[in-house]
Symmetry: C2
DNA sequence: CCACTCTTGTTGAACGCTCAACCAAATGGC
DNA sequence: GCCATTTGGTTGAGCGTTCAACAAGAGTGG
């Protein structure tokens, strides 16, 4: 027999539903804006960001997947599309013959540079403008605790 | 000429990335667990929940979409699948001949009852167990402010 | 009563994600 | 050196979501 379910009390219930509604609405909004204004989903934007920050704008596929919080399969599919758009290209890894390295092209960097201001503005408008400085700090601590707990 | 972008300062940057990583990891985990243990994505679970709480376990499609935080199109596709699974059925609305009413079947209620304990346990383990009571309260306020700001 | 507009809900195509299966190369024992 | 296992990455099928287009009924002003 399984242990009894630890149900949510009314406060927790309220918190969970609010969190669900808010984060879904936030991500949906940002995703839609990015798709509309820059022609890419948020997941692709993040891949380009991570690449742009890497030394030489290049990363092993696996490292890129980790950095972007993506599964390997997802990144592989995404890379196929990003390569077709001319925003990245794939090269063989010199030190591991199984490996592939994703490289951000100049066109990819330009696409990112074009998309960034609008997206950042969206993040500010939809997220930070709604919160007090104290809440921003709380949200950071909460998120870090959560991420740490989840990846432990 | 557009106004200059209000870029994120380092603290905001850190908060935003932590939030992104945490909420993505949380939702991915819960979604995967629900899919594995109950054979449904989280979006479908939420549809069933909302229906189960409605009077007579029935709701107009539009109201159900709003309650579940879904677009009408998404709900329509989902309803097609849920109906094929025998978990809901659609009836004509008596007061509006355009309208459809989604009704939770007994099988749907049973599927929900079977899925709920495991899912709630997951929410507790992955979310609430990682946070202090004060943080839960902060998260609720933050989420409510956010949701309010977004739908305003 | 008619025309215009709005609302409700559905549909199909394109797209992105997941999952499982898979290949190739690296690694670790023995 | 060889075989088994692990790691890196890709692939295809199936599913869910989005978007735009659509059909049909409800509401509204004249």
């Amino acid at each position: 027999m399984r242990a009894m379910t630890r149900w949510l009390d009314p406060d927790e219930q309220r918190t969970w539903r609010a969190y669900l509604a808010a984060s879904r609405a936030l991500m949906d909004t940002l995703d839609r804006e990015l798709q509309r204004d820059a022609g890419m989903p948020h997941a692709y934007y993040e891949i380009l960001v991570r690449l742009s920050e890497a030394p030489d704008r290049r990363l092993r596929m696996g490292d890129l997947a980790d950095a972007a919080g993506s599964s390997r399969s997802r990144l592989s599919h995404a890379a196929t599309r990003l390569e077709a758009s001319g925003w990245i290209r794939r090269e063989d890894c010199p030190t591991d013959r199984r490996g592939q390295v994703a490289v951000l092209t100049d066109a990819g960097f330009a696409a990112l540079a074009a998309a960034a201001p609008g997206h950042v503005e969206g993040v500010r408008r939809h997220l930070f403008d709604a919160l007090s400085p104290a809440q921003v700090d709380q949200l950071r601590r909460i998120s870090e605790a959560l991420a740490d707990h989840l990846t432990r």
